[in-house]
Amino acid sequence: MRDPKTLKYQKSHEWLSPDGFVGISDHAQKEITDVVFVEPPKIGRKVKQGEACCVVESVKAAFDIYAPVSGEIVAANADAAKDPAVVNREPYGKGWLFQVKPSAEPAGLMDAAAYEKFLAAEAAHGTH
């Protein structure tokens, strides 16, 4: 399992590891609730940062997942597609979604401390 403190985060709650792995945060998996379906991107696909490239579905709700960095998809987690609940069990470990070979430096990502502040601000902002 990756240490969440070592990851970078996007406002849409994806994390990016230094070696290009991507998943959703623990906060996100709790809000999405029980994941029943994962559709990772196809290997070889070129994505731009912020582009929807993966879908995670919980009971009766599908969520777009966005690339936190531009580049090429070089791996997709087939285990998560077979056992979607692993995204809930291990969001920073075996529940990763895909891996990107970056083609550019990602912009605007938050470190763990900034992400925690972002979550606190969102919670304080209340519902929409």
Partner: protein, 228 residues
């Protein structure tokens, strides 16, 4: 939040799904978009992650061999649109929230509207959440679905979150409520207006319909519907 209620022509399942997606992808959202479907005939839709074969088999088992099930962009189960009141809502969904929170908001408003029309329904709040997802939408009530007094599920929904916007698609079964479609539609309009803010109804203009038509071929394609 402002709200626009949009009137669209009668469509089949692919047309309805395309029009909803066009609304979801549309211009900057300064208004929630509420729409009651008008169908041109029986239709079947199924959830984004569901296997096509399950939907095909479900249609065949009820003798709907000529009906082509259409995959939705939203999650959820198989829905037969044969006398249900189908409606959709595109809304601002900036902060990530549980689907249950969204369902509670929409369905509580719907229950309030139905009550004004004389039909009683309440939010389903079981002590424990059932495991997994039901293949067919109305085979069981999920938390925050609406159920009639006799326990039958009457309103189920499906969601898609794309960026800061959400698409809700709902199916209301009228028989357990003993309410006419027009009265139910009006009650939903009123309740959504109360919950999401009110603006007058307006018709879909040609640009909106054209945006939907551009997306229709995908919803008619085997690549989309039979992708898994």
């Amino acid at each position: 939040m402002l709200r626009a209620e949009l009137k669209a022509p009668a469509l089949d399942a692919a047309g309805q799904m395309a029009l909803d997606e066009a609304a979801l992808l549309g211009e900057a959202l300064d208004a929630a978009i509420f729409r009651v479907y008008r169908w041109i005939g029986p239709a079947c839709t199924f959830g984004y992650g569901q296997p096509w074969r399950a939907a095909r088999a479900a249609c065949d088992s009820r003798g709907w061999t000529q009906v082509s099930p259409v995959r939705r962009a939203t999650g959820g189960g198989i829905v037969f649109h044969d006398g249900d009141l189908t409606f959709s809502l595109v809304f601002s969904w900036e902060r990530l929230q549980t689907p249950e929170a969204i369902y509670a908001r929409v369905h509580r408003a719907a229950a309030s509207g139905l009550a004004r029309a004389g039909a009683r329904a309440s939010l389903h709040a079981p002590n424990s959440r059932p495991l997994g997802a039901a293949a067919a939408c109305f085979s069981r009530a999920e938390p925050m679905d609406l159920v009639a007094e006799d326990g039958r599920k009457v309103l189920g929904g499906a969601l898609r979150k794309r960026g800061a916007r959400g698409l809700y698609q709902g199916s209301l079964r009228l028989e357990p409520l003993g309410i006419e479609p027009e009265a139910a539609a009006e009650s939903l309009r009123e309740s959504v207006r109360a919950e999401f803010g009110g603006a007058g109804p307006e018709a879909f203009d040609e640009s909106r319909l054209a945006a939907g038509r551009r997306l229709e071929p995908r919803y008619r394609s085997r690549e989309w519907n039979e992708r898994r």
